[in-house]
């Protein structure tokens, strides 16, 4: 998966590295701002009310 991605990123190693870093950041942002907030209410960690 990652090998395939690395092979398909264009440019020299430095450029590949930069692009890979951007991709990682994009995925992390997607998780933090979209996926986790959606997922959170269904997970049994922090429900605080009685009743």
């Amino acid at each position: 998966m990652y090998v395939w991605l690395w092979r398909h990123l264009p440019g020299p190693t430095a450029a590949k590295l930069l692009q890979a870093l951007m991709l990682v950041l994009a995925v992390v942002a997607l998780l933090f701002f979209v996926v986790f907030p959606l997922l959170e209410p269904y997970l049994p960690f922090d429900r605080v009310t009685s009743g």
Binding site: F32, P44, D46, V48, S50
Partner: protein, 297 residues
């Protein structure tokens, strides 16, 4: 087994002849590597979720709390009457809670009071919003709709996150009996104090410490209400006017209670931690006046 396998080399030749050696091994390698990478990735995602829950939501919650506080400060500033005489003597500002009725309105998701716990430090201050759904609680501690307002007879009940989203109620487990919980509204200061703990009841004297004035072992309808209780999530009676008594009606002569709820144990929500306190004092707000309880705890 492996030794046997090596000795019967003929079998291997047989297999090699059936499938082209390079391709088969490449496929196996690719599949195994793919599964491995997927598992590592999932592990990293789970770790990221922990980072999100414990740190990132604190940042978001902090921003929401700050803007809620800004909003309530604006409302209070516009409602403030300019005093002609500056009164800062606490004894002159003491009020009878029976004569104080809330003159403010509450809107779900908006702040209407501030909560102080001097035992957690002078900077412990949260704006309490109306409502207890997840959006409300992201902003700060939330008032159970339908429970009483600060200072009123009955129960002023507030829920708050223990871990994540500002973690307002992370330290409720550290509260001791007689610790002050101070609530500020538009016109009033209400000083509540935590009730005796279950294990202290047997040896409780009328006032074990000077700051315990007005705090005592609960009797009658209130018997069995303690400073801290660990209970099941479905125990809604904890936030009713008389805790544990299953009615929403406020009986004549009801006490003025405060109840704080959060999840328990930390990082889990299989149980609830409940803190009960009783109103011991109230002050009218005045410019430049802070209740002495805020300093001493």
């Amino acid at each position: 087994m492996s030794v046997d396998h090596r000795e019967t080399g003929g079998d291997r030749v047989e297999i090699d002849r059936v499938r082209p050696p390079g391709r088969f091994r490449d496929t196996v390698r690719t599949v195994i590597r793919g599964v491995g990478q997927l598992l590592i990735t999932l592990g990293v995602v789970v770790l990221l979720f922990v980072v999100y829950e414990v740190y990132v939501t604190d940042l978001f919650g902090g921003q929401k709390q700050a803007s809620a506080t800004e909003a309530i400060d604006r409302v209070w500033a516009s409602a403030e009457v300019t005093a002609t005489v500056v009164v800062t003597d606490p004894s002159k500002l003491v009020t009878d809670p029976r004569e104080r009725t809330p003159k403010y309105k509450t809107l779900t998701g908006e702040g209407f009071a501030k909560l102080y716990v001097p035992a957690f430090g002078a900077d412990y201050r949260f704006t309490v919003v109306e409502g207890t759904n997840s959006d409300d609680l992201y902003i700060g501690p939330g008032h159970y709709a339908g429970t009483q307002m600060p200072g009123q007879q009955g129960n002023f009940a507030v829920a708050g996150h223990r871990v994540s989203k500002g973690s307002p109620f992370n330290d409720l487990g550290l509260l001791a009996s007689c610790d002050a919980i101070v609530v500020e509204t538009q016109d009033d200061w209400f000083v509540y104090r935590v009730l005796p703990m279950a294990e202290e009841v047997a040896s409780w004297t009328s006032t074990p410490r000077p700051d315990c004035a007005g705090v005592g072992v609960q009797t009658g309808a209130y018997a069995g209400v303690f400073g801290r209780e660990i209970t099941v999530p479905s125990d809604y009676a904890q936030v009713l006017p008389v805790p544990h008594v299953d009615t929403t009606a406020v009986p004549r002569g009801a006490k003025r209670m405060i109840t704080l709820t959060t999840c328990h144990p930390q990082f889990s929500d299989t149980e609830r931690m409940i803190i009960h306190g009783v109103l011991v004092k109230s002050y009218a707000k005045a410019p430049g006046f802070l209740p002495p309880e805020l300093g001493t705890g």
